[in-house]
C-alpha cells in the first residue's frame, strides 16, 4: 500500500470530481463539501465509467407523493443504466447489501507532512505551502 498524491485540494472544487489513474486504475475523486472520497471508475453492473455520471441527491419517498430530497450531491448516477451509488461508501441504492462500487481511502494532507514521505507523487509536484488529496492504494 502506498500513498499517492493525486491533486491539489483547490483543483477539486466542492460538488465536482476528478478522475485520476493510480497504479493503472481509474479512480474518481469526489469532493462533497470539504470531504474527499474515492470510487473506482467502473460500474459493477456492466463496466461503464461510473465516475463520469451525474452527481445527484438521494431522493426518497416514504409514501407515494411524499418526496424528500436528501443528501444533496452525495450520489453518483452511472452514465449508462443510471444505477446510483453513495459517493461516501460506494454502496448501491438498488441493492445496497450486495452491489457496491469499490471505495478507496482518500485523505487531505498538508504538503509539509508529505514532503517527509513516503509517498508517490504521480504527476502532482508537492510543495510545503499547498494542501493535497492523497489516495492510499
Amino acid at each position: 500500500m502506498n500513498r499517492h498524491v493525486v491533486a491539489k485540494v483547490e483543483d477539486i472544487q466542492p460538488g465536482t470530481r476528478k478522475i485520476v489513474t493510480v497504479k493503472g486504475r481509474e479512480i474518481g475523486i469526489f469532493r462533497v463539501g470539504d470531504d474527499f472520497y474515492g470510487l473506482i471508475n467502473r460500474c459493477p453492473h456492466q463496466g461503464a465509467p461510473l465516475c463520469r455520471g451525474e452527481i445527484v441527491s438521494r431522493l426518497v419517498a416514504p409514501s407515494p407523493g411524499d418526496y424528500r430530497l436528501t443528501r444533496p450531491g452525495e450520489m453518483i448516477r452511472c452514465p449508462w443504466h443510471c444505477w446510483e451509488f453513495d459517493i461516501r461508501t460506494g454502496q448501491s441504492l438498488c441493492d445496497p447489501n450486495s452491489v457496491q462500487a469499490r471505495a478507496f481511502d482518500v485523505a487531505v494532507e498538508p504538503g509539509r507532512a508529505l514532503v517527509e514521505g513516503p509517498f508517490v507523487a504521480e504527476s502532482v509536484p508537492v510543495t510545503v505551502e499547498e494542501t493535497y488529496v492523497v489516495v492510499t492504494l
Binding site: P44, Q46, G47, P49, E54, P79, W80, R102
Partner: protein, 370 residues
C-alpha cells in the same frame, strides 16, 4: 463479493463476443438538414415550411428519460467534436465497431419520422431520404454497417416501391417497420407490404419506438418512464399475437420477423398461452394449421437488449432454451442509455455453441451474411 464483482475481467470464454453481429445500432443526424440533399425540391420545401405531422398527442414531449442529461443517451457517447450521440462515425467505431471487432452492425435509424408521418406522401419521401442518408453517411463509409429500409406502411404503393427499389442491394439487411402503428401489423391492409419484404428476401425488423397515436399501454398512458419501458413488451406481444392469429405466416410462409428492443423472456409464456387457447378456440381461427408456438419459432427472431436480468441468473439458460438458442441474436442498442455491453450483458456463462449462435451465427444465417 463486492470487489469480486467489480474487478472481474473478461475471462477467455468471455472473449467470444468479439466479432459479434450487433443487431441494433442507432445512427443519428449531425444536424436537422442532413436529409435535405435526398429530398426532392417539392418535399424539401414542405419540410422547411410546413414540417411533419406525427401521431404523438403530447407534442414536443420526449419519449426518452431525462435521467441522463440530453435525451436518454449513454453519457459518454456525446462526441467531443459536438453533435449528438450516434452522429459521429469515428466515435461509433471507437466505442463499438472497433472496440469489439463487430463483424456487422445493423442500423436502426430512429430519425426522420418517416414511419409515423400522417401525411403519407411526405412520409414516403422522408423514408427514401433516410434510406439514401444511411448509405451515404454510414453504409458506404463503413461497410460493416447495414441499413434498414424505411417505409411508411400507411402508403402501401410507395412502401412496396421502396422495398423493390432496394431489392438486391446488399447494403440493406432488412425492412424496418415501427411496431406501434394504426392497427396491429397482422391486419390484411399490411399484407402486401409484408409480402413484398418476403418476396425480396428482406426480414422485417420491428424496432420499438415511434408513436402509433394510441396510448402505449392497453389501459392508457403511463405516468412514469419506468412504466413506459415495460410497455415495449406489451407492444411486442400484441404484434406477435396479431401476426400469428391473423394467419400471416400461413399466407406468407417465407416471412421472417425480428423483434428489436423488446427483450425476450416474455415470449415463452406468451406462446404457452397462445397454444393453450388454440386448442380450445381452433374453430374461430381455422386458418391456423399449426400451433402458435410453431409459427413463432419458424418465423420470429428476437434480439437481446434490453436483456432481462433474472433474480437467479441461471434462469436465463432456461429462457434461452425455451425460445431456442437458434432464434436469439445479440444487440447493444448503442448509444442509448439502456444499451447492453456484450461482455457483461449475460450474467451467466452460456454454452459455447449457444454463444456462437447468439453473437454471430444466427444473424449471419438470417441476413445471409458472409
Amino acid at each position: 463479493m463486492n470487489v469480486t464483482v467489480l474487478d472481474r475481467k473478461p475471462d477467455r470464454g468471455a472473449q467470444s463476443h468479439l466479432g459479434f453481429i450487433d443487431c441494433d445500432v442507432h445512427p443519428y443526424v449531425k444536424g436537422p438538414n442532413d436529409f435535405d440533399p435526398f429530398l426532392s425540391k417539392r418535399w424539401l420545401e414542405h419540410k422547411q415550411t410546413i414540417g411533419g405531422r406525427t401521431r404523438q398527442g403530447l407534442a414536443k414531449t420526449s419519449m426518452y428519460p431525462r435521467m441522463s442529461p440530453g435525451v436518454g443517451m449513454r453519457m459518454d457517447s456525446w462526441p467531443k467534436t459536438g453533435g449528438h450521440p450516434g452522429s459521429d462515425l469515428p466515435m461509433m467505431q471507437e466505442q463499438l465497431l472497433d472496440l469489439f471487432d463487430v463483424a456487422y452492425g445493423l442500423l436502426a435509424p430512429l430519425v426522420g419520422g418517416a414511419g409515423g408521418e400522417r401525411n403519407v406522401e411526405f412520409g414516403a419521401a422522408m423514408a427514401t431520404a433516410v434510406n439514401e442518408w444511411q448509405l451515404a453517411h454510414w453504409c458506404d463509409p463503413d461497410p460493416r454497417l447495414l441499413g434498414a429500409i424505411q417505409v411508411n406502411v400507411e402508403h402501401t404503393e410507395a412502401a412496396i416501391a421502396e422495398i423493390e427499389k432496394r431489392a438486391g442491394d446488399r447494403r440493406f439487411a432488412q425492412v424496418n417497420i415501427p411496431p406501434r402503428g394504426l392497427e396491429p401489423l397482422g391486419r390484411r391492409r399490411y399484407w402486401p407490404i409484408l409480402e413484398a419484404c418476403a418476396a425480396n428476401g428482406f426480414p422485417v425488423s420491428l424496432h420499438l419506438g415511434g408513436t402509433g397515436g394510441h396510448a402505449s399501454t392497453g389501459g392508457g398512458w403511463p405516468s412514469f418512464y419506468h412504466e413506459e419501458h415495460p410497455s415495449y413488451v406489451q407492444t411486442m406481444q400484441t404484434l406477435v399475437t396479431s401476426l400469428v392469429c391473423e394467419g400471416v405466416f400461413e399466407r406468407i410462409p417465407n416471412l421472417k420477423i425480428v423483434l428489436v428492443e423488446g427483450g425476450f423472456a416474455w415470449l415463452p409464456a406468451l406462446c404457452w398461452r397462445l397454444d393453450k387457447h388454440w386448442k380450445r378456440l381452433r374453430a374461430e381461427v381455422p386458418h391456423l394449421k399449426r400451433s402458435p408456438s410453431e409459427y413463432v419459432h419458424d418465423h420470429i427472431w428476437v434480439t437481446t437488449q434490453p436483456i432481462e436480468e433474472p433474480e437467479r441468473p441461471q434462469d436465463m439458460l432456461s429462457i434461452l432454451e425455451w425460445i431456442g438458442p437458434d432464434r436469439v441474436m445479440f444487440s447493444t442498442d448503442y448509444p442509448h442509455w439502456d444499451q447492453d455491453d456484450p461482455r457483461y450483458a449475460f450474467k451467466i456463462p452460456l454454452p459455447d455453441d449457444w454463444k456462437r449462435k447468439i453473437y454471430r451465427d444466427n444473424a449471419r444465417a438470417l441476413y445471409n451474411l458472409d
